[in-house]
Symmetry: D2
Subunit: 150 residues, 4 copies
Amino acid sequence: MKPNNWSVLKRKVRFGDCDSAGVIHFHNLLKWAHESWEESIDIYGIPCQDIFPNSNSPQNKNIFPIVNCEANFLAPVRLGDLILIKILPKKINNHLFQVNTFFYKDQIKVAEGKIIHCSLEVNSKLKVKLPDQLERWIEASNINTNLKEC
Amino acid sequence: MKPNNWSVLKRKVRFGDCDSAGVIHFHNLLKWAHESWEESIDIYGIPCQDIFPNSNSPQNKNIFPIVNCEANFLAPVRLGDLILIKILPKKINNHLFQVNTFFYKDQIKVAEGKIIHCSLEVNSKLKVKLPDQLERWIEASNINTNLKEC
Amino acid sequence: MKPNNWSVLKRKVRFGDCDSAGVIHFHNLLKWAHESWEESIDIYGIPCQDIFPNSNSPQNKNIFPIVNCEANFLAPVRLGDLILIKILPKKINNHLFQVNTFFYKDQIKVAEGKIIHCSLEVNSKLKVKLPDQLERWIEASNINTNLKEC
Amino acid sequence: MKPNNWSVLKRKVRFGDCDSAGVIHFHNLLKWAHESWEESIDIYGIPCQDIFPNSNSPQNKNIFPIVNCEANFLAPVRLGDLILIKILPKKINNHLFQVNTFFYKDQIKVAEGKIIHCSLEVNSKLKVKLPDQLERWIEASNINTNLKEC
């Protein structure tokens, strides 16, 4: 088993990602952040249909609306740049978790994103604890990161 | 002169704004926030070509890259909702300003956005003071808001 | 009654619409085309919730998936350009209709879009005739256009 | 050398690709088509900075504006679907070429895209012949496809 394949991804900046300033258009970075955590849980083994609303799984019990998002831009991200993306989720409390995403170009951090999700029961819209498989992904991602930093 | 036409806008949520959760896809709110301040300075009388990079005005001396953005989601924003958008810019220091955007549905605040821009000289990339016309728009927007709150 | 307010719209090109070539990013024109027909039926008096899938109207009997779209680009569409948009829908047969969209800058046609929708019953996915209110919008739009051309 | 690695790609449908009908939002398919040909020439060995306008390569002599695009939708493309993408470029004449893109799910064709580009000299905007490296990519892609069909 590769210990870190679900928390380190790669992606190249494409023409349509950029605006007429020649850099990634700002909110596309948050799009990348979201697609990165989708890819991360996918590789880890959680079916995206279990987490995200879709017409194939109307029986999902939980939804995870975003309550806050934020991005910091530290250096220009340009067309053709190959970006390394590190994903580090954190549990905030029983029903809130945040997905931190760090973007690197040539080992320099160029941007970071943060998305906070709330776990709700789909019908009542009441706050409920995170599902077990998300808890496990969060824990495994943190152990994984700590190990690499030892 | 209409005192507030550049700081209060309206917009309806369209099909393509929403994701399969049936609400505005999160980073589209920041797209709305950016388009709102573009529309605001446009109505106020600042040509967008003076502010945003474009092939028609290669002679622009300043650029205003985004260094941070953030959004809070307070209630669902759905297809067909008519949203009132209030824009309130703030000067942070000589070279930084932020554009706050507040989104209302039926007089209830449903979301808010914040975008921080940095003023740079286009060639040297050195920090420079905000251009006068942006300073005036920021001041006028704040006077405008204060007057309405009296 | 204003005879043409639902088939002629205006829109300004914003920073995020453009790519690093300094013109509207190609598929955003089709986004504009779709948002234009949403706005057109809205002004005409058809609630968007009757036509487009959404969590507020799960009782809708018809869906209108897109089976084909096309765009022609005739001249550059740049940041800050004010675009006049003319919408002309056509009925193809009992269950198919197309929405033609023409984009003008300073009375010169700069682009055109075409989107073909199919009318299906939501559960069976069988082809069904267009709903009456869409038929009326299509007819009224064509009468409207013919009158103006006389 | 892998003979076909630049003309057959894979991609998974993400949450933000879909609209509230639960399928890929129509013009995102054309975004995928464009990103696919960017990835294709990248793998083939043509630097994207040679082809697409960007602030790093202001010395590019040619630009390739899109003059037409089209998409056909044959079956629903849903969240989590793994899509196989085949790219087949064609030379139309000395200055025009089209990129055809075919999308497959479980070996069934579910959609197809077509984008036509025109080769122009950047300053004069006069039509010019395709650059040699694009010609070679088009030829190699067609030989490649023919070989596989034998």
